[in-house]
Structure formats: structure tokens, C-alpha cells
């Protein structure tokens, strides 16, 4: 589904991403882990087109999408959610979701008719329900709880009906109970929508619980990759986490 081949990006001589190759199978759920500064978010930025790679290639279902613009890549089917909820403070949950849907459909140039009685209301309600935000759909984004804000960020990505969903630390800033709730919701989503998911996460219990395949990054390089049980026993990985990383 998604293939990265020898992707590299450096900033002023330092490699944030160093020769990274990975492959995500269709409908799989995968995790990227690694100590802080390992280059995980940079990797996401490269995949989604927010950053231009120095070298290497990115393939989406056999199509070469390397160095396409962020908007093009989004329309081709890759969507992401951010580490810090990246939403629209003065708009309501419902309005935000509608905007995301319209954006995907190139409908934002429409100066005719009112935004409020748009035909996408059914779709927007579906996304709201799917993300567990139906009850708060009319609340203004800045007044949402932290957890709901993170969910809204994901909902916006879902509204794009992506083939691949990238989640950057979906449980960041949450307490232990909320974290498991978030992860079980993500699991539900994954089962219902059959998307391919790649998420960045720090909580190892969660990672080992739901990821089918794990990539470990350190200093921009892929330190190890494989099934959870293999990663758990990988000496390099253990050293990286307990050692200086």
C-alpha cells in the first residue's frame, strides 16, 4: 500500500531522516516508535508532502508520489492527524468536519447556497458518530476537552476518506484510562473502515497490544522492524530505550 525507499532528509548537514525504507501492507495497522528526536514526525511530514525529501522515493499503491505537494498527496488518499491537536478555534466540531469533507470534494469555492444547509450533513454526522463526537458536535472547538480535540483532529483526517491514516501520538497528553479509550476507538475505526494505519506512539503497552508491525527509529534510521514479539526481544531496541536514547 505504502512504500518508502531510502528516504532521506537533512537539515544543515544533520540527517533527520536517514535512508529509511518501510512498507505498509493494505489494511494493516502499524506503529513507529523511537526515542525523542528519532525523526518520527519528520517522517510523517515527508510522507504527507509537508517536507520535500532530499533523496529516496515514496510510493502509494505503485504510484510515485515523491515530492508531490501536500494538497495533492491528501487528495490521493493520505491523511494525517497531528501531535498537538491542530484545529479551528472559533468553529464548531460540526462545521470543522464539514469543511474537511468539502475540502476533499473541492467544494470550498462554492459561493452559492448556504454552508449551513449543505447536502453533506449526513456524511458529516457519520464522521462525528464514528469519532465519538456526535454529542459535542455543536461545541466550539476551543471549548472541547483535550481528548476530544485530539479526536477532532483525527475526525478531520477521517473526513477525507483516506486510504492511509497517519496518527502522530494520538494519546499524547492523556491519562492512562483515556489512552486506552482512544486506542480502542482507533481499533474500532480500523476494523470498520479497513484503512491502513501508521501511528507514532510512546506507550509501549499500547503499541505491543494493537500494532501488527513495528518500526523502530533512532536518529533518523530504522533500527529494527518486525512483529511485536520480535521487537520486544530485540537487543538493539532494548539498548536504545534503556541506553542513551
Amino acid at each position: 500500500m505504502l512504500k518508502l525507499i531510502n528516504l532521506s532528509k537533512s537539515f544543515g548537514g544533520i540527517f533527520a531522516t536517514n535512508n529509511v525504507s518501510l512498507e505498509l501492507k493494505k489494511e494493516s495497522i502499524n506503529a513507529v516508535i523511537g526515542p525523542n528526536g528519532a525523526g518520527k514526525t519528520t517522517l510523517f511530514n515527508l510522507i504527507t508532502g509537508k517536507l520535500k525529501a532530499d533523496s529516496g522515493k515514496v510510493f502509494l499503491e505503485e504510484q510515485n508520489i515523491t515530492n508531490l505537494s501536500e494538497t495533492e498527496i491528501t487528495h490521493l488518499g493520505i491523511a494525517r492527524a497531528f501531535q498537538i491537536a491542530n484545529i479551528f478555534p472559533t468553529l464548531s466540531v460540526y462545521e470543522s468536519i464539514k469543511l474537511a469533507i468539502l475540502s476533499k470534494k473541492h467544494g470550498l469555492y462554492n459561493m452559492w447556497g448556504r454552508f449551513s444547509d449543505h447536502s453533506i450533513n449526513i456524511e458529516a454526522n457519520q464522521i462525528a458518530k464514528l469519532s465519538g463526537l456526535y454529542k459535542v458536535k455543536n461545541i466550539i472547538c476551543s471549548e472541547l476537552s483535550h481528548g476530544d480535540q485530539k479526536f477532532l483532529d483525527i475526525a478531520l483526517a477521517l473526513a477525507l476518506k483516506p486510504k492511509i491514516l497517519l496518527l502522530d501520538e494520538p494519546t499524547a497528553g492523556m491519562g492512562p484510562e483515556e489512552r486506552w479509550m482512544m486506542i480502542s476507538r482507533i481499533k474500532d475505526l480500523w476494523k470498520k473502515t479497513k484503512m491502513t494505519i501508521l501511528f507514532i506512539e510512546h506507550d509501549m503497552d499500547i503499541v505491543f497490544d494493537i500494532a501488527q508491525k513495528i518500526y523502530v527509529l533512532q536518529q533518523g534510521k530504522v533500527l529494527a522492524e518486525g512483529l511485536p514479539k520480535d521487537i520486544k526481544q530485540n537487543q538493539n531496541v532494548i539498548d536504545a530505550y534503556l541506553g542513551g536514547g
Partner: protein
Amino acid sequence: MITFFKQDNFFRDATVAFLSWLLLIGIYYLIPDPGIHDIIQKVFILGLFALSLNILIGYLGLIAFGHATFFATGAYTLGLFLQSNFITDYNLGALSIPIAIILSILISGILSAIIGAICIRLKDIYFSFLTLAFQMFIYSIILALVNITGGDQGLMGGFPKPPFLGLDLGQPFDFYIFTLFVSIFVILMLRQLIESSFGYGLRMIRDNPERPSALGFNIKNHKLIAFILAGSIAGLAGSLQALLDVGAYPEWAFWSKSAEPLFMILLGGMHTFLGPLMGALIFEILNDFVTANTRYYGLVLGLVILGFVLGLRQGLLDWLLMQFNRK
């Protein structure tokens, strides 16, 4: 955004607009004071100007310092066209004024497309300064081309106002109902624009300019279209002002003219649709009242603005509607 009605639709807005127009015509007869009529006309012309700027400031989040560029362009275009030989050469007759107005909108629109395309590539204060730089550059051009524009005297010699559609703009009443009709109509159209998907796209950009591209939305074109619309409407306002004053003056292209709609947006509020119009009302009343009683207009205006900035911290209409919504 703060709203008055919970549900909104075009027909309700159109009805309100039409009834307002009739009401204002009624006021013309109920209060036969030409000074009052003058204020009402000015409020709507300047209100239109301020509303057009609020597309950029209130809804898009772009602080444009140089918006009067388009107001002046519209005014001079209308004046120059009506003074030119086109009308007699082509025997335009009754079409003269409508064509002049359309031309004003068009030329301002084209200019705003050019200036906008260059300016929106910059952010924050740099964007603001560049719009100002363009404005003062054009102001200098207007002053320099003395033979065409009349230089610092402005467009002199007046121009004809051939009657059309049964209206003779030389008659105060005809001018009154015409100006109000055009202004209210455009305001209605603006309302539709703001409440459409396009308008919400603007709000999206204002709230979080980085996010839209991750949603597949290219904000550059959106910003440019908004800029062009704002500039065109400002040009229309300028052409109406030129018709009112039967002339066009370089002061309308000076940077202080760009400050006026900013004051109106502050006084009336940038978070309600009609805020800038109320701001124009406050501004005009202040203007009229103060200049009648003292020569120190700047002092009073400065104190009022200070009061709003430090005290109320929002425009009057914004504040009123927030109180209303609390109940």
C-alpha cells in the same frame, strides 16, 4: 462569529434588506433634513467600504493597510470615464453611469488581482506593509500624473450625470434611493458570500492557516479571490463616493483614508457581519457631531478609539449581540 438569528437563509436576509431599503426611503420623507440624508448616504458608502475590508480582516485574518487604493481607483475610474469623450463619441447616453460603475468595479478588481497576487505571498506585518507601500506608490502616481488626474487638486471640472432607468442622479431623492439600493444589494450579496462554503473556507484560513493544506485545500487561490472581491467592492464604494461629490480626490488614496474603515471595524465590531456598518454609523455621527462643536476632532476621535481599545475591547455591535446572546 456572533449571530443574531440562529437559523439563517437567503430569503430572510433578502426580505430584511428590502424592508430596510423601504424604511430608509420612508425616513427620507419623515425627516426632510438634507443633513440627515447626507449622513445616511455616507454611512452606507463608507459602510460598504468597511464591510469590504472586513472580508480580509474579520473573516480571513489578513490585516490590509492599503485598502483605500481600490476605493480611490474606483472613484477616479468613474470620474475619468464620465469626463472623457467616450460618452459623446459612442453616444452612450443613459448607459453612461451604469457602464462607469461597472468599469470602476472592473478596474479596481484587476488592480486588486495584481496587487493581491504579490501581497498574499507574505505574512503578517509584511503583508500589511506591502499593501500600504502599494497604496502610497499609487498615491504618488495619482499626484504625478497631473494632466490626467488633476494632481493634488483632484479631478476638477465635474462631470455629467446622464439620467438612466428613470433616475436623475442630479436629484437628491433619486441619488438617495439609488445609492442605498446599490449599497444594500451588494451588502446582501456579501452576506450570501460570507455564509456560503466559500465564506467558511475563509474562516478556516483565519483560524489555522497551516491546517487546510493537510486537508487538501489550497489556500492561496482562496485568499486571492477574497482579496479581489474586497478590492472590487471597495472600488464600487469609491465610485459611489465620486458620484456623490462629483469629483475624485487624491486624499482618498492617502494612507489615512485606509485608517477610516479600520476605525469603523473597531468601533462596530469585526465579529458580526454588520459590525462595520454600525461602525460607519458611529464614525459619521461622531464626525458630524464633533466637527459641529469643536475643531479638535482628532482629540475626540482618538479618545473614543482609546476607550474602545482599552475599555470595551470589542466593537459595539459585537458587544450588543454578545449581551443579547447571553439571555
